[in-house]
Symmetry: C2
Subunit: 515 residues, 2 copies
Amino acid sequence: MNGADKLCDVLLVNGVDVCFANPGTSEMHFVAALDRKPEMRCVLGLFEGVVTGAADGYARMADKPAATLLHLGPGLANGLANLHNARRADTPVINVVGDHATYHVQYDAPLTSDIESLARPMSQWVGRVETASAVRRVTEEAYVASVSRRGVSTMILPADAAWGDAEPEDLTPVEVPAAATSSPEKIREAAAALKSGKRVAIILAGKALRKEALEIAGKIAAASGAELFSQQSDRHERGAGRVAIRPVPYPVGMAVAALAEFEIAICLGKGVPVAFFAYPGMPSQLLPAQCKAIELGGAETNLLETLELLCSEIGASSAKPALNRLTQGELEEPTGDLTPDSIGRALARRMPENAIICDEAITSGRAFGQLAPGIQPHDHLSLTGGAIGIGIPLSVGAALARPDQKVILLQADGSGMYTVQGLWTQARENLDVVTIVYSNRSYAILQGEMRNVGVNQFGKNARAMLDLDRPDLDWCLMARGMGVEAGRATTIDEFSRLLDAALSNKGPFLIEAMI
Amino acid sequence: MNGADKLCDVLLVNGVDVCFANPGTSEMHFVAALDRKPEMRCVLGLFEGVVTGAADGYARMADKPAATLLHLGPGLANGLANLHNARRADTPVINVVGDHATYHVQYDAPLTSDIESLARPMSQWVGRVETASAVRRVTEEAYVASVSRRGVSTMILPADAAWGDAEPEDLTPVEVPAAATSSPEKIREAAAALKSGKRVAIILAGKALRKEALEIAGKIAAASGAELFSQQSDRHERGAGRVAIRPVPYPVGMAVAALAEFEIAICLGKGVPVAFFAYPGMPSQLLPAQCKAIELGGAETNLLETLELLCSEIGASSAKPALNRLTQGELEEPTGDLTPDSIGRALARRMPENAIICDEAITSGRAFGQLAPGIQPHDHLSLTGGAIGIGIPLSVGAALARPDQKVILLQADGSGMYTVQGLWTQARENLDVVTIVYSNRSYAILQGEMRNVGVNQFGKNARAMLDLDRPDLDWCLMARGMGVEAGRATTIDEFSRLLDAALSNKGPFLIEAMI
């Protein structure tokens, strides 16, 4: 066996059995090794941004990492934007990046680059396999770092480490240290705050937004009068019957207003909320200046147990959390124009049970988001890092991880074009994904931001950079060109009919909504 | 005026008047400033790989840099693969990468990342504009570095440096130091080698492959008996009436054989040729071990004058270079199957004068390349850094720089999918580009490499990663979906008819060749 075989075996014994890939020449021995392991599921992306975004979506739903296979520095570079999103989602991912044979690097061949420098900004852990005999140790390190610290591990595999001889050996799963709760002092501090009579916000992210953790947070809120907020996260178990929680709004002014009254903020899963961007005269931090923050830990923390400890510390274990009421059946069929609002209502009425919403709708998703608490319980996967182009890949990964759940992708057109190649992978793997493209033929969010900087009349250059028309994109043609069936809706009736058909069938379908 | 206005002014006064862009919120003040400068041509790419690859193609043909406008770390990351190619082509490019306002970085907002770490591997020069008052100095440094060292300059522009007040001032073009020739000692050493009676290879790259430089190299070769070779370069002025020169073959075995007999290699424009990849038991360097290398300088060198000095040093100024003979008219119309070979002949017969060939045909371009010396003189732009996905963007930039030349893009299907979004920019800018997609529904080069590592029977996973079928891509639908007219050829007759039509019209057209 060679180093590449060993790498496959170590991944498999640790339960990593999906590899999203786009290989090149320097990874041929790894490809050959993967070909000897039919129990590894290899999924091709026609661009590395699809590969890494799919790995993110997979891990968010499978709660375990997939591997990626990337070709040298440029292949990694192409995947970095979605690794950035994975990093901000605290998603475990194990990148295997091929490199030249160790002795070849000195010649600065055309594909040589500083892979470590590229990897570090988007990775929690970066390592290099020096020889075939180091494969097991480095792969285990990458795996443990990825799982226990919930993040992106990037492992560089030189070609000679892949093709070099490795010793056969009995492999067992590596031990992953259990996640610790927040410290007793911190928990007591939070409990005291909740009992202080002051206005308290509990701001949740990551695994604190899963059903069970939310239940406990809901009890704490019910017993203490604290208010619950969510930050953008890998996965929010949302909808009717689940604990009511408000998102921290994206627009800075709205976020500041929503949080203005609080004297204490208890944060779990992520640090204090900050503004996506700076604006002249606006604050960077969203909490009021006098608000005290108590941070109970990030993704590496056992958030469920921390919430349980806090709940029992304030004696709230038998409190009744406020749950979202199912109002889906009360929604009326929308009529009139095809708009983000009518689309949101048409979809909310039709939400199947146990669906997965992948959300890269940007400016168009607000209406659906407002209805979401009252609809069938579902998983909501959001754009965590702000790097657009995650939607289609995320849907690929989520659908692969959960073949029995319907995936509904809310996709802005400008962002969708970034990784449009992912539609082909939807088709090849026959994934059960309904993609709704909100076709507004513009970077609408940026047109709003231009107005924010005081520009209301757009000239030639602003229009050139912020409009997506001239020519209009035809998403149905593009989807069919990649093997995905598609239909165009110009009225809400057409949209609803297409959606009914798409929801009643299995397999990928794209609806181009001409809003 | 603000810092962003100043940045535009400094670019414009130095002749940088094209900006390939995909902006985001942190660049809105720069977008607003660009909108106040209609003399700057802003060209939108629907993905940053299109933006950077177009800047590369533009600079190769315009011999001056374009600016790019990229959104923070992830926007830069998306453009890195084609910046890698630009770096390997020694192409001048000026990236303007927006960043958060300086005071906002400490809060680690979702889009924050280490931009310098991402930029350095693919940039010759990296700088940060600390305040609006530093804009002129930093922009001039970026410009000079890019032009005089022929490379990628990456300039990071925090939002507050863009929106901060800047002093109006009279701007003049910055002085760029003239490129020096190789040293007299080196030139004498090369001259002595040429007169030694030993077998000498002259290996040219970059600006040494332009018409005038090639003429001089041809005289040197004619007078001395040395043999001329080319390495993959930004732009090779190729074809009939130009000096005959052989490319160093891509496959290592062929390259080693082609260079086996040489005792001395004189290299201009690039260092000694090295293998793209390492293979067990194969050398990394392509020259024989006993061959002496004389390197006369890279892209920063005045290669034309260096060749002139060498030519006069050996008294070859009146020698007659061996020129390629025009054989295009003697080519017979191909019949039979549609293959890379018949496509190459059909195109060669029809080559218009003064065309630009953008070449990302990978395994399918060999036939055309072999006929190229005998056809109408043309510019040949190649994939210099091995990062696939350059073809469509390169065609965009080349066509923008040279609206009076027909651009013919030879595009492998697998590579084309990497930056397929660039077709939309072809359409929006109504660029005169004929795209020929060699649709072989596979990563054919990798299938060859798998055989090189001894795998001849492909299993489930190898087929999953190396085939592009199931479903087949339909390039005509994808092209029309982005506003580019297209036609499919399944026979060589259909192909020739489509090509005749495409060459006789202006504007973008795509031919999907089902080889």
